[in-house]
């Protein structure tokens, strides 16, 4: 029996006006221009349905973290209501800067062949100064590094060898692993292979669209989503292979934003798209003999729960995997938004807000005496490494490093 009572698609009428969502909104706390989730979501929707002129451009301040939804006692899909309103009513055209930030895959394709040059250029002070007035990308921001050569290209070399494993999974690597951090993809393959499982890539992969959605490129996002959906269906329904991921944001976007915001019906395959940490946890918990051997010294790790991980509710798996490593002490940090929210923190007008949102988190990290921070989100990693003195690594990268 499914107990979840059927809710209308746009369930703003379920709001009981308790204002609890606003208490937990990281933006309301620091940005006086943002009216908050209750006003922007269910309250505003009532008005917008009467007359679209009630649409308020301040909705752009919502970073779509979904913390309001997680807190709401009445199950109102506040974040979805706000994003849908932006899609439906916003008149603002995206700027050149937003276009660049949104097209993570296109930028990656351009940048990776020239990675050393691009990285040198984008981290050089004068260039950052130019990026600032020209594109309104904040000059204080460290820009993501591009890797020399993509993950997909590297994978070609090992594709045949991966096929030799009896058991197989598919891997949706996402733009970040492909262009910025192929090491994470390699780490996943190392761990899966140690469990006697081979890793295949989808034939083709588009950006999940998270940055496109938040920057207003809805048609492009929907087109990508359709293509990704086709590939995922091929893997799950034809090849009978689950699709694993390593980014909490991609995972959340594919599983929930594709159906809610972009109208993709993924019911048939949704359960088979999951974070690799969850897949591995299930594997190890059903068969204890699978637990790999580790070789490591003492390590104090702080785990940061990314917003979309909080929404998925899956940080448990990553934390439990980290705890498997002997001599490791894991502290779960209070679940707070780090403030970067994808491309939001890169924009000049958001730099201060972005930093303020994350302040309590940075403080906790600095004061805890940790060796390392761990998180399942690539943009949280950038933010934490920029505003604290600690390195931030994906749980699987940590695991891969200490595998005996």
């Amino acid at each position: 029996m499914n107990l979840l009572v059927n809710k209308s698609e746009n369930n703003f009428e379920q709001c009981i006006k308790c204002t609890i969502c606003t208490v937990y909104c990281p933006v309301s706390k620091v940005n006086p221009e943002y009216p908050g989730p209750k006003q922007s979501g269910p309250d505003g929707e009532r008005l917008r349905l009467k007359n679209p002129d009630f649409y308020d451009e301040s909705l752009k301040y919502c970073i779509n973290c979904k913390r309001c939804e997680v807190a709401c006692p009445s199950n109102v899909k506040i974040g979805d209501i706000i994003q849908m309103a932006r899609i439906k009513y916003s008149q603002k055209k995206p700027t050149l800067r937003d276009t660049i930030l949104a097209h993570t895959d296109f930028m990656g394709t351009l940048a990776t062949p020239f990675a050393p040059v691009v990285n040198a250029i984008t981290s050089a002070k004068p260039v950052k100064k130019i990026l600032d007035p020209l594109l309104q990308i904040d000059k204080r921001r460290n820009l993501p590094k591009y890797s020399f050569g993509t993950f997909r290209n590297w994978y070609k070399k090992i594709a045949e060898q991966q096929k030799t494993f009896a058991e197989q999974v598919s891997y949706f690597h996402g733009c970040y692993v492909n262009y910025n951090n192929p090491q994470l993809g390699k780490d996943l393959i190392k761990i899966m292979n140690s469990l006697n499982i081979g890793v295949q890539l989808l034939e083709k992969e588009r950006c999940c669209g998270i940055a496109l959605i938040s920057n207003g490129f809805i048609d492009k996002a929907a087109k990508n989503a359709k293509l990704d959906e086709q590939e995922i269906r091929k893997s799950v329904l034809e090849k009978k292979l689950p699709v694993l991921t390593t980014s909490s944001s991609c995972t959340f976007t594919i599983r929930d934003e594709h159906p809610h915001l972009l109208g993709i019906d993924n019911r048939e395959v949704r359960d088979e798209i999951e974070l690799a940490t969850r897949y591995i946890y299930r594997l190890l918990s059903t068969n204890q003999s699978n637990i790999p051997e580790f070789n490591n010294g003492k390590l104090k790790i702080a785990y940061h729960t990314p917003c979309h991980m909080e929404k998925l509710g899956w940080s448990y798996y990553s934390i439990e995997l980290l705890k498997l490593i002997p001599k490791v002490e894991v502290t779960v940090l209070d679940s707070n938004c780090c403030g970067i929210a994808g491309t939001f923190g890169f924009k000049k007008e958001n730099h201060e807000t972005s930093k303020k949102i994350g302040e309590s988190l940075f403080k906790q990290i600095e004061e805890g005496g940790f060796d390392l921070v761990s998180s399942d989100c690539e943009t949280c990693k950038w933010q934490i490494e920029m505003f604290t003195s600690k390195k931030c690594e994906h749980p699987l990268s940590i695991l891969a490093k200490v595998l005996a």
Binding site: M1, N2, L3, L4, K17, C18, T19, I20, T22, V23, Y24, S28, K29, P32, P35, G36, K38, Q39, D43, E69, V70, A71, C72, P73, S74, N75, D271, R278, Y281, R282, S285, E310, K311, L312, G313, W314, Y316, V332, D334
Partner: protein, 427 residues
């Protein structure tokens, strides 16, 4: 996912049993769908203010017997007199241990002051909130009531009238800060939760000291709505020191800030003790085999079930959808436990809002150990606590928080005793 105990519902009751179990090194998870009814908390926990027949209770410990003799269905009756008294003391201790320094005791009810200035009996009240120990006497000659300009969830005029009737002189003043203007633009957002973000900033300290010293000149105390001091715990005491007069808080209309912070405080205790708190998740299905709950499935965790030796159901009443009413029945949606309700729907409620509402007493049936009943038979490892229980009326009797806390502690104790016996039997 394997735990010693899985608790369904993360409000007051779920958190208290969770904390008690964790203090004894048990591995616990809480599954909570959204924030709880604690967000409507008045700043006081009630234990027992009236018997079901309306008779006043002044000394809960001494008078509990009257309830036990006459009302067999009541959760307190299931506990019995000794257990009731023991548990109230255990509750007071536990709150102190975790750092909630409340005022009051179960020996004698004290009186809290409502947002309308009335006096209501209660058991424990948060520090900083105004109380009195005598229901006809307030401890001041003259007070200054301070509101924030434009704040509609607090009405000093009502409080003033009620205080005057008790012989206390009053004066009403308004506090304001320029930064409040931008939330004032939108009246529906001018709520305590939003105000406190600005009022608790260090920058408001100076203006508070300046204004409050003027306001308090002719008064023995200052009374403010509960919009201060949650983020910045030293702010009120510092201001008090500066102006040399005591400051007290009164609850506002919901949302209740003190509720938000009490919830967060207890949740933090739970996670700091090593508990796993799954927020924003809800149970979709549960398996029962050989009269034991074996697995609990949730929306977020899909095909990975929660497994535990014991399950506690603390999912709240109608508001939190721990029980649900349709046109002709009241049901418990997770385990389909037996529920207690009246046959005829027209008997459920009284048209007069202030009369006894029968539906308030509906809830899940249990045996005397608070194990949930299904088809008349208790499920071995499924305990039920808090607002979801049948047989009491939290509003009429003023016993909601008491039932939540005491049944939670009782069940946690049962689980600990049971496991101890197993362990010693195994040795």
């Amino acid at each position: 996912m394997t735990f010693d105990t899985v608790i369904i519902g993360g409000g007051l009751s779920g958190l208290i049993s969770g904390i008690r179990l964790l203090q004894n090194k048990k591995k616990c998870a809480i599954i909570s769908s959204g924030q709880s009814a604690l967000h409507f908390f008045s700043g006081s926990f009630d234990l027992l203010n009236f018997l079901p027949n309306g008779e006043k209770v002044a000394y809960p410990q001494k008078e509990i017997n009257k309830l036990i003799k006459n009302f067999p269905e009541h959760p307190y009756t299931k506990l019995g007199e000794n257990e009731f008294n023991k548990l109230t003391e255990q509750a007071e201790q536990l709150l102190k241990q975790v750092g909630l320094h409340v005022q009051g005791s179960s020996e004698k009810n004290h009186f809290r002051i409502t947002p309308l200035g009335e006096l209501k009996p209660t058991w424990l009240t948060m520090p900083q909130f105004a109380i009195t120990h005598n229901d006809s006497l307030l401890p001041w000659k003259k007070v200054c009531l301070i509101n924030i300009k434009g704040f509609l969830d607090f009405h000093p005029e009502f409080v003033s009238e009620a205080f005057k009737a008790k012989g206390v002189k009053t004066e009403i003043q308004f506090f304001d800060l320029p930064e409040l203007d931008r939330i004032r633009k939108n009246p529906s957002e001018f709520r305590s939760t939003n105000l406190s973000i600005i009022l608790d900033k260090e920058s408001s300290r100076e203006k508070m000291i300046e204004d409050f010293s003027v306001f308090s000149k002719n008064s023995d105390a200052l009374i403010l709505p509960d919009c201060w001091g949650h983020k910045n715990s030293s702010l009120l005491s510092d201001v008090m020191k500066e102006i040399g007069k005591p400051i007290f808080l009164l609850p506002t209309f919901p949302p209740s800030l003190i509720g938000v912070y009490t919830q967060q405080f207890l949740k933090d205790c739970f996670t700091k003790l090593g508990g796993t708190y799954m927020l924003g998740d809800s149970v979709t299905e549960a398996n029962i085999k050989n009269n034991r709950v074996t697995e609990v499935f949730t929306k977020n965790h899909g095909n990975i079930p929660f497994k535990a030796d014991n399950v506690i159901l603390s999912s709240g009443s109608f508001f939190s959808q721990g029980i649900i009413a349709d046109m002709n029945k009241v049901y418990e949606p997770v385990f389909s436990l037996d529920t207690d309700f009246l046959e005829k729907r027209s008997d459920w409620y009284n048209r007069n809002l202030f009369e006894n509402q029968k539906y308030q007493q509906f809830g899940v049936k249990t045996d005397n150990n608070f194990r949930g009943l299904k088809n008349g038979k208790p499920i071995d490892n499924l305990f039920v606590t808090g607002a979801i229980l049948n047989g009491f009326n939290p509003i009429k009797e003023g016993c909601g928080a008491g039932v939540s806390i005491l049944t939670a502690l009782y069940v946690a104790n049962q689980i600990l005793i049971k496991e101890q016996t197993y362990e010693s039997a195994g040795q």
